[in-house]
Structures are given as C-alpha cells and as structure tokens.
Amino acid sequence: MRVSLEWLNEYIETDGLDLPVILEECGFPVEEIIKVGDDNVYDIEVTANRPDMLSMLGVAREIRAKTGRKLRLPETYEFKDENRWRDFSVKVENFDDTPRYIACKLAHVPVKESPDWLKRRIKSYGLNPKNVLVDLTNYIAVELGQPLHAFSESLVEGKTINVRRAVKGEEIVTLLGEKKELDNSILVIADAEKPIALAGIIGGEESGVKRNSESFIIESAYFNPILVRKGSKKLNIKTDASYRFERGGYFTSPDFALKRFLYLLKEIVPEVEIYLPIDVYDKIPEPVKIELDRDFIRERLGYNISDEEIDTILKRFDFEVKKDSVVIPDYRRDLFEPIDLVEEVGRIFGYSNIPDRVRVPEGVYARNNNLFNMVRTIRDTLVGLGYYENVTLGLVSKRELGKIYGNVDNFVRIANPINVNIEYMTPTPSINLLKVVKNNILKSIRNIKIFEFGRGFAKGKDAFIEKNILSVMLFGMPDEKEWYNSPKSFDLFDIKGVAEYIFDLMHVAEVKTDRGEYPLYMKDESVSYKIGDVEIAQCGRIRKDIENFYEIENGIYSLDIDLDKLLDYTKERSYERPSAYPSVYRDLALVMDRSVLFGDLLNVIYSVNSLPSLKVKLFDIYIGKQIPEGKKSMAVNLEFNGLTRTLKDDEVEVVVGKIVESLKEKFGAYLREK
C-alpha cells in the first residue's frame, strides 16, 4: 500500500513523528520511501488480516491508536431533497453473496480532467489520472478502501440490475477485451439480458466511462470475499478491486464511500445531478462484541498492564469499551475473539516494553530422537573419513526418471512445477548426487566422496511412500596422490566397504549380501544387503548408459541405505567378557572354480563348524599360472575358540577335516599344494 504523506496529513497530523518506526511498531514495515515532488510516499507492507490498512483512513486510524493524536474524518454528502430514481430496479439474488448493493444515478456528469490535487494524489498511489469520474472512484478506493464501479446508464438494458450468479454458457468481454466463459460459481452484475460486469473484479467492455454528460450509475457494494477470490482465481483476473474485495468488505462501507464520493464530486462538478440511491440489503448485522477480560490480556502478554492503560489503548481504536466487553466498529474485520484484543493491546503497548522471561519449566525435557542421533553419528563419522555432506533439492525431471527406471508411473509428480527439471520427487538422493559428481569433475576435482541424507519418494498402494535414505557416491580415487601412497580407482568393493562400515558402526548384525537388481546399477555389479528378507541397502556401479546420459565419465559407485530400517535393526549394545582361552588358528588355501561365491563358501564353513566359536577371514585370492585354468585359490584363516575351555588340537583337526570334505562335496574345492 502506497501512502502519500501529504494525503495522510488530511486525516492526522504527522508532523514530528518518525512514521517508518511507528508503522513498523504497529506491524506494517515501510519497504520503500519514494520521493514525489515535495511529497514522501511510503510503500508499506500490509498483512492479509488487515484490509482496513489498504486505505489512507485505515493508516491514519492506526497512527492515531499508536500516538493518540486526533483523527479528522473525511466529510461526506448529505441527502436532502434529491429526485427519486424512478422506473429502475436493483435485485440481489442472494444476500450471502452480496450483503449490500447500492446503486446511485448521476446525471449531467461532464467527462473532464480532474483538478490538480486529485491528479497528484492518484499519481502518488501509482495510477494514471483519466477523468473526474474514474479518478474519483480510484480516489475513494485508496482513501476508504471501498472500490466503486461507474458505468453508463445507457448500457443497462431493461432498466434493471440483477446481482446474481452467472448461468453456465454465459460469457462476458471484460474491460481489458478478454472474453471469459462464466458459470454458476461467478457472481455477476447483469441487466435484464446479460452480465455487464464481474462483481468485485472488473467491468465489461462497454462499461468504460467514455461519453460526455450522460447518466452514470455508481455502484458501491459489499460482495462475499470468498466468491470474489474464487472468481478471480478461476478467471485469472486480478485487479486492485478484486484484491480489496477478497480481503473482505463490511456493511457500512458502501454507504460511507458513496457519500464521500458524492461530496467530492459535487465539489469538483457542482452541476452534477444526484438521484436518491437504491440501497439493497437484507438486515443490518449486529456489531461484533468481544468479552473484555483484562486479566487474560495481562496473562497472555506476561506483563502487568493496568486496567486504565488497557482501556486507553482500546479507546484509541474507537472501540466502545464497556466494563467487561468491547464493541468493535465494522471496518475492523479481523477482531472477533478475546485473543484478538490481546494482540491489539500488545501491539500498541509495544512488544519491546514486555520483559523477557527465560525458564525451563517443570515436566519438560528434551526427549531422545533415535533417527536424529543415528544420522548425526553416521554423518560425523563419514566426514571424519573424508566424505562431503551434500544438500540437493531432491527434485528431478521426468526425463531422468524415464532414463533410469523406464517408467515414471510409480513416482510422485508435482502438478504445478516451476519447470520440468524439478517436476518429480526423487526416489533417491543418488540421482541428484550424480549431477553433483558431474559439476565437481568440471571443477577438476577427481577424489569425489559425497553423501546426502534425504528422502526417497514413491507412490504406494494406499499412500505415498516417504523413506529416509542415506546416499553415498564415489568417483575417481579415494585420495590424492601423496608421497606415501599410490591410490587406486574406486571399485565395487570400496562402496561395499562403506555400507559394511556403517552396519558395523550402527551395530547391525547378520546382514546378508545378495545379488541386487536396482535399475540404477549395472546388473553384474549390483549388490543388495538384507536382514532376513528385508532389504536395508543397495549399492553398485552406476549403469554406463546413465553416466553417458548425464555426460559424466564412467566409474561411479553409489549406495542407498534405508535409514528407517537400519534403525529398526540397530541392536542395543551389550558386552561380554572376552574368552580367557587361546584361539587355535588354521589356514586353508582352497582351489575351486572361479564361479564359486565366497559367500556360499562361508555359509558352508559356518554350517559345518561344531566348535563354540569360529571366525573366518579371507586373506588372499589368487588366479594365475600356479593353478589350473578356470580355477581360483581362496585362502582363509580360521580362528577357533572354545570360549569356556581350551580346544584340543585333534578336535580342531576333526572339524577342519569336515570343512574341507564339505567344500569338496559342495564346490569341488581341494587344498592347494604347497
């Protein structure tokens, strides 16, 4: 709302006031001060609850409440012996849609330029002056917040105005020349035949004030704000009038505004002939009355403001203050409840005058949040290991999802995206990390170890699926070349290492490795981690065609961990006395077909073991000249422990023998000769 200081001074003396500070302390910060000649124009931010502040008078009232200075109300026209407007009718279809509608006929209105003072003020609001009639309707909108609508009487067929819902199939060409199709949700001003204006939004094409000295009708009305807002949205027309109407009118406004309009019109154009207006309404609403509980105000503000001080503040708003109630004038459309009075008193008293209180009350303490704790532990550990935490938008394009998953039907689409690049909710942070990898490669960074805690979204059967996911991505080499190292490019076992590290860190046991089938990964380098049948993580090498699609070099590895599941399987820590008895170690170098999986081998070893404790470590894999073509040698170290006793050599030999036998049986494995 643009507020001209020169104009404002008509209603309240602002000399000596630091207006920007006062307005801000009332809750209406000045965003900009514009110099217009000798005048200062303040552009103030008005919150949605205060349509009254979209008017000069409203701003003056607010300053009066804050400062106690005297308010001068604008002068209005008094009807005396005007002619009646015969043979004309105004009908309001529904008083919920249109609580009040006033039409007033004016004759002998010359279409001439406005006087300088009027033009200046219209300009201060940012509008171009046109002619007296148009400028004055605009003036009233700014001065009092009530939009008026003026149109030629000759435009109205059948000597009648109907304020009604449009009928499906009706259409109108607006003042801006756009044709709009209407339906029952749109409130219109119609004559006997057709809609001539969209109520509270904009006039019809013909309604512009053009011809000289003919008869005009001034409309001053109060329309249902929801209806105006819906209509404005549906027809996609936003005007100064619709902006004001959708924030709410009030019952006495049309009458007050009309009388003010006529007063100024008569001043500027004394020859104008005014008819008695036709004023249509159902009943005069009861004024809002709010219970005044001064203790409640003190309690909520946390400060002991005296009764007198409270009453003084409320009276400065022109509220009618009684012993235990306050009557609110109807231009304040935001006050209904006792809490509303707390705010009014607080604002004017000044929030700065309320002391601070810091207390940690009884019965309140910060509870533990396991997910938060887990995320922070993993995050800090990864950072300690040289990983960079990322935050991406978590939104992706249809093109990307189509490329990776083939089909996008399972994914969550935004109906009204800003652009197609961020139209879908991502199923995993990994997708956006790919782009981060690309951007860092472009900056010549080639040791990329990044991760993000984000969410993954998909459509579920009955509801949307929203999972907490940790994505980790690797590209290039783990470290830069230093004097002490010779880094090797990342491969599948680096990303597996990250996953298994996190499982250990979070104390998750019995995670099994399985072949994965995740679309992001190459089929033969895709790994799934499961506990029982529940998958808790996937990792693998990004498909080459996906890397090519993003125009990134090949060789990216990624990992997704389902954090909710990880948390489910995180075990409470418990501790045991370590075995007091020595372990017995045996090394076995086993030759078998290359296609044998270590995991399978391991399962057999554990299943055959009958001793209290066995730990198996794979310490070498060999393929080469010394073993037959198509075979590999895997060397394992077996650590047996009796836990409660010392193991005897021969019982270990028996078990080792059984293990070797079973491996031979299952995989054709045999001991490698020295």
Binding site: E24, E25, C26, G27, P29, T47, A48, R50, I226, R300, L301, G302, Y303, E337, I339, D340, G346, Y351, S352, I354, P355, D356, R357, V358, R359, V360, P361, G363, V364, Y365, A366, R367, N369, F372, R379, D380, V383, L385, G386, Y387, Y388, E389, N390, V391, L393, R413, I414, N416, M425, N440, K443, I445, I448, R455, F457, F464, D479, E482, Y484, N485
Partner: protein
C-alpha cells in the same frame, strides 16, 4: 689400523669441547652400532693375532672411558634417537577430513541450542494433507493468507508438499498432552524461483512450547536467548507485530545486524536490524483443532529458515551456492 692413542686424544678432546646438546650425537658416533669403537672391536678378527690382544684391550679401555664420560655427563633421552635421517617437515600420512554441509552445520547449532532449552526433536512427512499444512493451522481455504505460501500440489491426489514444518506441531499435539516443548527441523517446499535469496526447497525449524501460563514474555525470553547463543552474546533482539494465521499475537523477530553490529550496512539495508524469524502465541483456534483446553493452555510457536541462518552466520551471500555442493565451497575457508 689407526693408532688407538691418537684416536683417544681426538675423542677425549672432542668430548671435552662438545656442548651437552651434542652428546647424544657423539655417543652414537663413538659407541653406536656403527660407531667408531664398535667397528674397531668388530674389526679385530682381521687384525694379526699378536696385535689383536693389545688393540682389543686398548679399545675396550677407551670404550669404558667414553662410557664413563657419558655416565658423568648424563645424556638425556639418548634412546629416543633412531639414528636415521628424518625429514620431519614431510606432511603426515593422514586421512583428510570431509565437510559437514553449512545448512547441516547451522541446523546442528540451532538444534543443540533448543535441546539445551528442553525442546525435543520431532519429524513429519514432506508430502502433507491440506488439513495439516493449512486448515488445522487456521489457514482456511479461499483465504488471502494462503497467498503467503505458494504451494506445490501433488498430481492426481489431494496432497501437497508442506510449505513449512508447522504441520508437525499439529501432529505432535494430536498425540501428546502438554507440556510440550518441541522443534521440527526439515525440508519445505514453496513455489519460488531459484535466486540468491530464494529456493523452491529450503529447510525450516518450527518450534512449539505449550503449557499452562505461557506468555509473550516467555516467547521473547527463549527466542532472545536462542539469538544470543547462535549469533553471539552481544546480539540484541527486537519484536515487531506481524500476522500469521496460526499465532496471535504474531511477531517478527529482528536481531542486531551480525555484520555491522547494528551500525548500519548494506546487508541490513542501513537499518542495523535483520529480520530472522516469525513467531507468536499459538492461536487458540489451533488448540481447538487438536482438542486442547484453550482456557487452561497457552503457548508460543516460531519458524525460522535454516538457509538464512547459515548464510548470516557463515557470510554466504548467495543461496544457490548451498545447493551446488561444490566441494571447494563445502570445505570452507579460514578467515
């Protein structure tokens, strides 16, 4: 074979003239594994038999003399010398740390401060219903206050992307009785174009405190304490009236400019103040939605943008940097 006597003279002279800091090196030079005396004794087997005995005796005598010297002139920590050359300026063999994202770092600080003040962490879904995101927060459909938050809607559904983490307030109050002190950190979405100070995706921390007799003085006290903890002990706060449908009275909190200390600079547009968060007493209508007794309970709520806090704290002037994840940027600089 050198004359042992000559050698003895030479060694005793050099020991006499040596400063104590040189002892360690000299001890190694003469008595070390590859020292002069050691090598004489070791070389004895190549010496003709007749000389061997004499030289051996002389050498051993000299060895004892030198040992005696070092016994008298205590060598401190002599054993810590390995005797090999070490370039101690070589960089250490190490792991280079990664980096916590600045948004996460700011969030950590915010969360830690509120946890010290007794606020628990609560999470909620990002895909929300209109009820939790708007209606139960007293933002009716078709009310102009909806324009304050331009919303993304989910296609083929009545769901939306939460525009703030305030829905978590409602979800928490539905499940728990007062007293409640909670914060809800998380991602939010608004239909804003990406520019230096806006992003369609951003992080918010919503806070809520409900109990008997919670007042505006509590709101001011807690949030001012938070501001001092986050921005520094000299930080001043100012509260001005504002409007949010879910709070009443509503307020904006300003802090004294973290760059100029309140003197006025380009960041604070020469006002000395920065607007950092919205807050207010919980509107009783919100309590009605969750079935709280509005006579008995009152509370305050607030919401802050984590990106803005991170930018102010770490001197970042473009929000887009936060979402680019350039590793050089994430590393941070020491100023």
């Amino acid at each position: 074979m050198r004359d042992i006597k000559e050698l003895r003279e030479e060694i005793l002279t050099s020991l006499k003239n040596a400063s104590s800091s040189e002892y360690e090196a000299l001890k190694i030079k003469y008595l070390g594994r590859k020292g002069v005396i050691t090598s004489i004794l070791r070389g004895l087997k190549e010496v003709p038999k007749e000389e061997r005995k004499v030289i051996g005796m002389e050498a051993n005598k000299l060895k004892k003399e030198i040992e005696e010297f070092f016994r008298q002139h205590k060598v401190k920590g002599a054993k810590s010398y390995s005797g090999k050359f070490t370039d101690y300026t070589l960089p250490g063999r190490r792991i280079f740390p990664g980096a916590v994202h600045p948004v996460s770092r700011a969030l950590d600080e915010i969360i830690d401060i509120f946890m010290r003040l007794g606020f628990s962490i609560e999470y909620g879904p990002e895909i929300e219903s209109d009820y939790y995101n708007f209606e139960a927060l007293n933002v009716p459909e078709h009310h102009p206050s909806r324009d304050m938050q331009d919303t993304f809607y989910i296609a083929g559904s009545d769901r939306l992307l939460r525009t703030h983490t305030s829905p978590v307030q409602i979800r928490t109050m539905e499940n728990r009785k007062p007293p409640i002190r909670m914060i809800a950190p998380g991602r939010c979405y608004r239909k804003d174009e990406i520019d230096p100070s806006h992003s369609p995706v951003f992080h918010q921390v919503e806070g809520l405190y409900v109990d008997e007799n919670v007042t505006f003085a509590d709101l001011k006290g807690i949030l001012s304490a938070f501001a001092r903890e986050f921005f520094g002990p000299d930080t001043k706060t100012r509260f001005t009236p504002s409007f949010f449908p879910f709070t009443e009275p509503s307020s904006e909190m300003y802090v004294s400019c973290v760059f100029c200390g309140g003197k006025g600079c380009s960041v604070c547009q020469h006002t000395g103040w920065l607007e950092v968060l919205g807050c207010g007493l919980v509107n009783p209508k919100v309590f009605q939605y969750v079935g709280y007794n509005t006579e008995k309970y009152s509370g305050f709520a607030f919401g802050l943008g984590v990106e803005r806090f991170a930018m102010l704290k770490y001197g970042i002037d473009d929000m887009r940097l936060l979402f680019e994840n350039n590793m050089e940027f994430l590393k941070g600089v020491i100023k």
